[in-house]
């Protein structure tokens, strides 16, 4: 707990003191789920291949053995059905964690996850909430082709009533997942398949990271780069390259896009007077376009240039490795955007 008390919002990197332990992103997510399932019997996990198979991506490995088949529930390939079923159970007071093997598959469950979960509390006049976590892989980069490479935040962030969490590090994944499970509202927890094997320091034991609090990943004075999820790592890489060119970047990891930590972003942009938003969803009507609009509004007088945006290209996700890498918000595109935003192009 001491790490939490001294650093309640985890804006700074977690203390490495004490038991230094590096685990994979998937282990961090699992640790959060297991701790919460031990704490609260109302929490259960369901989804395709989560139990006997140990998880398609091994996120739920070993959970069946610990918690049994009543609480780690294998479902058929039936996203619409099991999402709706989990929502019904949440209305009655359980706290389901629904694993989508890929968020791309959630599209066949659009009605329950968008029409039921986020609206239940409202249309029942506050009578029935929906404390549920939907989690799974989101985003492109694994050569999975057009239909399996969705960045669903581009679609789902438009809907009121959901909280959207997109962690970029194992430590954040654990702390944010625990918060998600304890949250009384529907939470969409978007993991990146490309990050699941990434290792990082994750404190043992209890800690929760509140939603709506960005992390400052790098301090700088010339340009603010805002991102979330996997592209945060590309931003940090770009910042190192740009530093050699004399452009000192500040990198903000939003961690949740609903709620959105606008104060942190605004304070940074008022300092640097330049902003680049990096978002792996498509550009049209996206979280990135929303953030850019908000920066324009709140930093209108301080900005030296319009807010530059880096997205996935506005085409279906290609399969070929070179094309897919070109399509994604990559280090080159981020460097170009920062140079342009700071008039160093």
């Amino acid at each position: 707990m001491s790490a939490v008390m001294s650093n309640p919002l985890f804006r700074e990197p977690l203390s490495m003191a004490g038991a230094e332990r590096e685990i994979e992103f998937r282990d961090a997510v699992r640790e959060a789920m297991c701790e919460e399932m031990r704490r609260d019997k109302r929490v259960y996990l369901l989804g395709e291949e989560v139990a006997q198979y140990d998880g398609a991506y091994k996120v739920s490995k070993g959970m069946l053995a610990e918690f049994g088949a009543a609480r780690v529930v294998d479902t058929p390939i039936s996203e619409s059905g099991f999402s709706g079923m989990a929502i019904g159970s949440a209305m009655l007071g359980l706290r389901p964690i629904v694993e989508f093997m890929s968020w791309s598959f959630s599209l066949v469950a659009a009605d329950p996850i968008l029409n039921n979960a986020p609206k239940m509390l409202y249309m029942s006049g506050g009578q029935f909430g929906c404390p549920i976590v939907f989690r799974g892989n989101d985003g492109a980069g694994g050569q999975l082709g057009s239909t399996h490479s969705w960045s669903v935040e581009g679609l789902f962030s438009n809907v009121p009533g959901v909280k959207i969490v997109i962690p970029s590090t194992p430590a954040d994944a654990k702390g944010l997942m625990k918060t998600a499970i304890r949250d009384d509202d529907p939470v969409f927890f978007l993991e990146s398949e490309r990050l699941l094997s990434m290792k990082g320091h994750v404190p043992e034991g209890e800690y929760l990271i509140p939603f709506g609090h960005a992390a400052l990943r790098r301090q700088g004075k010339d340009c603010t780069i805002c991102s979330w999820g996997r592209p945060v790592h590309f931003c940090l890489e770009a910042a190192e390259i740009l530093a050699k060119e004399g452009i000192d970047c500040e990198v903000i990891d939003l961690r949740t896009i609903r709620p959105l930590d606008l104060p942190t972003v605004v304070a940074s942009v008022r300092k640097t007077s330049a902003a680049v938003v990096v978002d792996q969803s498509w550009s049209f009507a996206s979280p990135g376009s929303e953030l850019a609009a908000q920066i324009h509004r709140h930093c209108f007088d301080e900005l030296d240039n319009f807010v530059h945006r880096v997205h996935s290209d506005d085409v279906p996700t290609p399969y070929a490795v070179a094309l897919e890498q070109e399509y994604l918000p990559n280090v080159r595109k981020i460097c170009e955007a920062v140079r342009s935003a700071t008039y160093r192009a």
Binding site: G88, A90, L121, M123, S124, L262
Partner: protein
């Protein structure tokens, strides 16, 4: 390995309504049957006043009335226990009233007023009643069927995993015959069969999905229980125009589902006397067909039965009707007098916990804010940035 599913024998229910005379000929105490009659009249009168209020533009949006199907909601609710969860579709006023929602709260919801069951934020299609375990009217056809499976999952989980006992509740999920063709319904049935969920899917088979006759939209429409047979569900075909049959058959089915923690499907034969909604000229069916079914009015059937049993006479019926009309008149008056839902409700109930860090503005600032000033304040000690 699951137990093999033994199909329920399909027997045509004997016509209860023709059996014997005297109060002892009733399958339930006379006072209970009289209560059902009153509730059926209440639903009928409520719906008549809804249609009037709709014409007067007191009620907006869509409005789907339940006239003709009263025996279904009343009989099904009577067959269940109060702790059994119920979820239904958009033609939901009858279920709400049958489950015990006050006619005042129901009508005020129709009027979109603060005194409505959902403070006017749900409307006609979204009647929710937590104290009475009514988990909503739901507007998207078939979407409530996975929810119904989920309610059963939750009661079973609570009873078995959390309390360590035996599953003891059964959920009802109502749907129309139009919802039978939605994919969500098949997924719900498959999950219910697979996970041994005590849920009964009651298909209120009134023969039409909006204006499409069942045989024009549904294969095997003469035997829609076959849809459940494919998933190992126990099945029953019930005369939904006779509340005594509905009660008796539903009670037997619910007892079985409770005992075995298994799902079931019901082909509840009924007829919708009015159009699909208020804007339906009913060109897809003949007036003769309507007259034929209206001669089988579930309310008249029960009245006849109660009269034959010596429980009901003209005076008692008149007094019941007077009471019901007064109750509904009072509900309309209450709805009219109820405050319009305040604008301060607009942002309430979006989340259980408020955002917390946004203060001083009725809108979260990142959404555009009610004011031009940057009014948010961080709760982590960083004061507002303005």
């Amino acid at each position: 390995m699951k137990d093999p599913i033994v199909p329920m024998p399909q027997v045509a229910p004997p016509a209860v309504a023709t059996a014997g005379t005297g109060a002892s000929s009733l399958p339930v105490p006379a006072s209970t049957a009289m209560q059902w009659l009153r509730t059926m009249h209440l639903v009928r009168e409520f719906e008549v006043r809804c249609m009037q209020s709709y014409q007067e533009k007191k009620i907006g949006g869509f409005c789907h009335v339940y006239i003709g199907q009263e025996a279904v909601a009343v009989g099904c609710v009577a067959a269940m226990q109060p702790q059994d969860p119920i979820v239904t579709a958009y033609r939901d006023h009858g279920h709400a009233l049958a489950r015990g929602m006050s006619s005042r709260a129901c009508m005020a919801e129709m009027f979109g007023r603060a005194g409505g069951c959902a403070k006017g934020k749900g409307g006609s299609m979204h009647m929710f009643d937590r104290p009475n375990n009514l988990f909503g009217g739901h507007g998207i056809v078939g979407a409530q069927t996975p929810l119904g499976a989920g309610l059963a999952f939750a009661t079973k989980y609570e009873d078995e995993v959390i309390l360590g006992g035996k599953s003891r509740r059964v959920s009802l999920s109502f749907l129309g015959d139009g919802a039978v063709n939605q994919g969500a319904f098949y997924e719900a049935q498959n999950l219910a069969g697979l996970l041994d969920l005590p849920v009964i899917f009651i298909i209120e088979n009134n023969g039409y999905s909006m204006g499409t006759a069942i045989h024009r939209g549904t294969t095997m429409s003469h035997d829609i229980c076959i849809k459940g047979r494919a998933h190992g569900l126990r099945e029953a075909t019930i005369d939904g125009m006779d509340v005594l049959s509905v009660y008796r058959d539903m009670k037997a089915l619910a007892d079985w589902c409770r005992e075995h923690s298994r799902p079931a499907i019901v082909d509840m034969k009924c007829y919708r006397f009015k159009g699909h909604s208020m804007s339906d000229p009913r060109k897809y069916r003949t007036r003769e067909e309507e007259a034929h079914h209206e001669s089988n009015d579930p309310i008249i059937t029960l009245e006849r039965r109660l009269t034959n049993a010596g429980v009901l006479d003209e005076a008692r019926l008149a007094s019941m009707l007077k009471e019901v009309r007064e109750e509904v008149r009072d509900a309309v008056a209450h709805a009219n007098a109820s405050e319009p839902t305040s604008a301060s409700e607009l942002y309430r109930d979006v989340f259980v916990e408020p955002w917390g860090r946004y203060t001083g503005s009725s809108l979260p600032d990142y959404m555009g804010g009610a004011t031009n000033a940057c009014t948010f304040r961080a709760t982590d000690g960083k004061e507002g940035l303005v």
